[in-house]
């Protein structure tokens, strides 16, 4: 009985050791660190294996997207201020989301083959969630 207990205790130690080794080998520290610091650039680097050139190109695309988005958002706010028709508002909102989706496709095109598809599969469900949650003008009513 005592030896059975020792065997089980040693087996537990072996189990814990195997767990630790396999976790340490498979654990993506860079990704976890990025999640803790909410660093999306580090996420792109760690998750999609991008080099500095690709990251710089993506940052440039993002800058251009931000300018476009700001313009659209300003147009949308102005439309709300002048009480534009719901149809016009919906059109502006859908243009905004479409622009966001196109931006993601442009970013995916800069990634290595295979990674772009993975990137789209990661982000597009959240774009769909944005649409489901409500469009920008709904938020502006608050």
């Amino acid at each position: 009985m005592r030896n059975l207990g020792i065997t089980l205790a040693l087996a537990s130690v072996v189990c814990a050791f195997a767990f630790g080794i396999c976790f340490a080998v498979k654990h993506n520290r860079e990704l976890h660190q990025a999640a803790i610091s909410n660093d999306t650039r580090a996420w792109l680097h760690a998750e999609f294996h991008l080099n500095d050139g690709q990251l710089a190109a993506i940052a440039k695309l993002q800058g251009a997207y931000s300018l476009r988005c700001d313009e659209k958002c300003a147009a949308m706010m102005s439309a709300r201020r002048r009480a534009a028709s719901p149809h016009e508002l919906r059109q502006l909102e859908s243009q905004c989301l479409e622009d966001m989706r196109r931006h993601f496709q442009d970013v995916a095109a800069l990634m290595p083959p295979g990674e772009g598809e993975r990137y789209l599969a990661s982000v597009l469900p959240y774009v769909a969630a944005v649409e489901d949650a409500g469009t920008p003008s709904v938020r502006l009513e608050h």
Binding site: T7, L10, F17, F19, L31, N38, T40, V123, Y126
Partner: protein
């Protein structure tokens, strides 16, 4: 059924038969020492040598379970981290956040 030895002769022989084992004064001690050896706790290494199959099976199962759990935990954490970051990434580009 027929017997080659007559019944009277057999009975007489059985009556005369005596078992005379040689005297062994150490017999009792030897029996007790064997009983003690059987009941005394054995060294774990001796136990493992005498029970290699259950011991090795326990270690193999522990190794397998630990490895699978470690890999699964790492994968789940990576998926969770990636999901959190993807959500945050989309949120930063979400037009609703830009109009606030």
């Amino acid at each position: 059924m027929s017997y080659s030895v007559p019944e009277d002769a057999l009975l007489r022989r059985l009556k005369d038969f005596r078992l005379r084992p040689p005297r062994d004064p150490e017999f009792r001690c030897r029996v007790w020492s064997r009983i003690k050896a059987c009941t005394a706790p054995t060294n774990w290494f001796a136990y493992a040598r005498t029970h290699p199959l259950p011991v090795c099976s326990a270690f193999a199962i522990a190794l397998l379970v630990g490895s699978i759990a470690g890999l699964a935990h790492a994968r789940a954490q990576a998926e969770r981290d990636s999901g959190t970051l993807a959500k945050s990434y989309v949120r930063t580009l979400d037009p609703r956040n830009r109009t606030q």
